[in-house]
Symmetry: C2
Subunit: 150 residues, 2 copies
């Protein structure tokens, strides 16, 4: 039986698959509060022609709207790929408690790979846990890039 | 006579003043390409109830729309306060070349104060220059907080 982390990560993977179908790098994210999904997003950088359209920012934006405030206290963020510095910074700014990610990102990951922004002396210190459904999350990305090179 | 940096920073200060009039922490930003302002923003975190509504993100979002793409090659960003990690990350992601900021932010500044994200091994390396019209930029912030405490 899958644990709660894997169940939510599987939903993030479904969002990532939607990105892939649109020709976008497949990353999906959700924000969860007390067992309720309050924000969803998938990467749309190419389609939206916008550098801010990462899965996490779209999910955080939606969560702020759903909850009616900028402080996402008591919220967890699930994402299929380790957040970049922009998204890790948005997680700090929105006061998200916990981040659960799938694949590690050696090039831009900012929850431990390049740096752990959550350990720097900003004003909020989320926790991060990586490697949840890692094989599926990383596999979806590598399949996407293989397909691109065909 | 004021130099180009100061002329643009004065326009960013005008945007910051708009934020102050709305009761928002006064920070203003603009994106400039070849002498043309392609994006403007001021902090609207409280009014928008959204953690993403920093001046820089709003200006970058507008610049992507103006220029019709997510890569802001050849663009400079002017902002009255040193960018936080979210905004510094967005600057990296959008491929902005140069950042010019006014006041330093010892608590969250991520272009040298807490850390310099632009020196980490991500895939883009903007330059940053701080202290332009520093007194005016810092003064507008301290006046705002003094007023709040009255």
């Amino acid at each position: 039986m899958e644990n709660q982390y894997e169940l939510y990560m599987r939903q993030a993977l479904e969002l990532a698959a939607q990105a892939a179908r649109l020709g976008e790098v497949p990353v999906g994210a959700l924000v969860v509060k007390n067992g309720r999904i309050v924000g969803r997003g998938f990467n749309r950088r190419e389609g939206s022609k916008n550098a801010l359209s990462h899965a996490e920012l779209i999910a955080i934006d939606q969560a702020c709207r759903t909850l009616g405030g900028w402080r996402l206290f008591g919220c967890d963020l699930y994402v299929t790929l380790e957040p970049c510095p922009m998204c890790a910074g948005a997680i700090i700014n929105s006061r998200i408690d916990h981040v659960v990610f799938g694949a590690y990102d050696k090039k831009a990951g900012s929850c431990g790979s390049v740096i752990n922004l959550f350990e720097l002396p900003y004003n909020h210190f989320p926790t991060a846990m990586g490697g949840i459904l890692q094989q599926e999350c990383a596999g979806m990305l590598s399949d996407f890039f293989k397909q691109l090179r065909k």
